[in-house]
Amino acid sequence: MSKEEVLGRVREALSVPSHPQVRALAGDGIRNPREARKFMPPGGDTFEERFANFSRLGEKLKVEIHLVPTLSAATDAVLELSKSCGWKKVASHHQPLTDVAVPGLAPEVIWMEDQPGTTALESCDAGISGCEALIAQTGSVLVTSKGSGGRALSVLPPHHVVLATRDQLLPDMLSGYDLLREKYGKNLPSFISFITGASRTGDIERILVLGAHGPKRLTVILIES
């Protein structure tokens, strides 16, 4: 069928007005999500409140969160992680934080901008990326294909490490959308994702298992300055 035929069917169906009883069941809600903020869980007004929410949720979701004072401390933290896990090959993308923290991190470092291909990325021990924002209300990491090294970096390697700065910790999802609109305007990235915890499944007997298909571990390193 053509577009017009399908839309024609829709219009014809809608030409009969809805039954008042049915309409009444949806008529009394607050429509605007921004007004609805007041009955959604809070994100926090100050950095301290937001960080408290983010780490509380992160703990539940088994996210490893490190709050470090400076970028050089962050570099040390990633290096320590690399040593303790014995990383041989890691992948990353170019942005101000990763450009400092990633080089020299493992014997082999591949960069997404060089188009390494799926097989090379799949064999990495970790993917290290920046993010658009951290969301306090949900404990999520907001990534996009433009700002976080593409679509696969944050999901294919078994360990995802995120570097973020203090001002990137936002209160809620709506503030995340605002940030994307401000930064990209109409030209939003083709891929946007709220990552909330490591990959998981409960499909076998409802027992939680981490690392179903995506990363088994998610580490967030938040730089205070």
Partner: protein, 468 residues
């Protein structure tokens, strides 16, 4: 001949006497109710959030034509190809053509109930392609050659030993009794499948008109891999999934996570607005969105029941339904099980062959109460019953109801029938549930309370006389 009704009867006859399985289901679903309850409490006011969700989806349904236009125009502007499919066959044809154009041999899929509805997998396999379901639950039922048991938890009916057995038989793994090991078997098997696949097929939980995007909700990361790695991505989406604004997701995603799985937000909530764009390092070269009507407009044309199109497929109504808990998902014989399935299947596949589903309900209303977008589910079941009778009522039933109303309207006749009933009951009692019992179908699994020795009328009369 098997009809949906005979299949339903024979399946439920089997599943309702499997007490172990019923207990297993009830324990699992109790677990869901508990975790969900805890998450609801983290909202300032969960009921208000539900109202907002309902209002958003209602606005979308009442403006479906303009929102679909807005969404597809925005998607097309960034290189997405749109297919408008009037029915399942058209959607399947389009997908097969795309597959042929890119010479696809291997297909990876993430969970998508709409593709179950249009029977995509058998058609692709018939055309010579390998199709692998990547969601763990879907993968398990695919290996077993079964339909999903529950449209959110496809393999919830299986214990680990059965899962281990099917892995052993079908993909040659070592037996295991550990859920984590079983997951890792699937993970490593699937890794090569992602890398080799020519096409990735996904569903969509929402379509955002304002920005021209689809939104996919998942926990495992399989949908992200399916939509990132293959050169071609095809998303299949029912036309009712569109919502007006990007901001609306800030309500809809928590509602879906909470109602669906008792999670405040699921692991990955991803939005896709086109194929790989200029300046991006990876992503598919082609992105196709297949919009499926397949009789959804028939439901939309019903002014009393069109709110059923608000459904976000969270599966909450199944989880709380006393019928679902006891008969299980396969008995329904439909793509969508439980209360929502019983409401919409008669619209999607025909009222007469599926009217029995509207009777497989106690009308307790737990479904309507739990629904995060406030669909009037149990009243719709009654509306389906009414419509089925108006369309094609049984002669016997009509005759019986007419006699019944005559008797009820005439006190003298009623009282004389009362005596007859008492006598009848005495004669019938020894036959109860036996071969010669004319009411056997009903009475063999049910108890009829014997009538009181004296009717209320008589007792009242005697009491009044005693007083005076």
């Amino acid at each position: 001949m098997t009809t949906p009704l005979t299949q339903f009867k024979s399946d439920t006859k089997e599943s309702t006497v499997d007490f172990d399985h019923r207990k297993w289901m009830q324990t699992a679903l109790k677990g869901y109710e508990n975790t969900r309850g805890g998450v609801e409490e983290t909202f300032g006011d969960f009921d208000q959030a539900k109202r907002t969700g309902a209002a958003i989806k209602w606005e979308a349904i009442e403006n479906l034509d303009t929102l679909l236009e807005e969404m597809t125009q925005n998607l097309e502007a960034r290189g997405t190809k749109i297919c408008w499919a009037g029915n399942g066959a058209e959607a399947v044809d389009y997908i097969l053509r795309v597959a042929e154009d890119c010479d696809a041999k291997k297909v990876i899929k993430s969970k998508c109930m709409t593709t179950e509805e249009i029977h995509l997998n058998p058609a692709m396999q018939k055309a010579g392609m390998e199709v692998v379901e990547s969601d763990l639950g879907e993968f398990i039922v695919q290996l077993r050659g079964e339909d999903p048991f529950h449209f959110v938890f496809p393999a919830m009916h299986l214990k680990r030993n059965k899962i281990s057995k099917v892995f052993e038989e079908k993909i040659g793994s070592e037996p295991s009794n550990d859920p984590e090991e079983l997951c890792m078997i699937a993970r490593s098997y699937m890794r090569t499948k992602y890398c080799e696949a020519d096409i990735g097929i996904s569903g969509a939980n929402f379509g955002v008109a304002e920005t021209g995007m689809i939104s996919i909700t998942e926990n495992e990361g399989n949908a992200r891999l399916t939509t990132s790695l293959p050169k071609v991505h095809i998303a299949v989406m029912g036309i009712e999934k569109v919502i007006p604004k990007l901001d609306d997701l800030s309500i809809m995603l928590p509602l879906l996570g909470t109602a669906g799985a008792g999670q405040w937000l699921t692991g990955y909530n991803s939005m896709i607005g086109g194929p790989r764009q200029e300046g991006e390092v990876d992503g598919p070269e082609e992105f196709h969105l297949v919009l499926v009507d397949n009789h959804r407009t028939r439901l939309l044309a019903d002014p009393e029941q069109r709110d059923a199109l608000r459904c976000i497929r969270c599966g909450a109504c199944l989880n709380v339904c006393p019928i679902f808990k006891n008969i299980g998902g396969h008995s329904y014989g439909t793509t969508y099980q439980g209360p929502i399935g019983s409401v919409i299947t008669p619209h999607l596949r025909g009222l007469q062959p599926y009217k029995h589903l509207s009777y497989s309900s106690s009308l307790c209303g737990a479904c309507s109460e739990t629904c995060p977008v406030k669909i009037d589910l149990h009243h719709h079941l009654m509306r389906n019953r009414r419509d089925a009778v108006v369309e094609k009522g049984g002669t016997m039933e009509r005759f019986a109801m007419r006699q019944f109303s005559k008797v009820m309207a005439r006190p003298k006749l009623y009282r004389s029938c009362e005596g007859l009933m008492r006598l009848g009951e005495k004669c019938w009692r020894p036959l109860k549930g036996k071969k010669a019992d004319p009411l056997k179908a009903w009475t063999q699994t049910r108890e009829l309370h014997p009538p009181a020795p004296k009717s209320f009328h008589k007792q009242w009369k005697e009491k009044q006389q005693g007083k005076s």
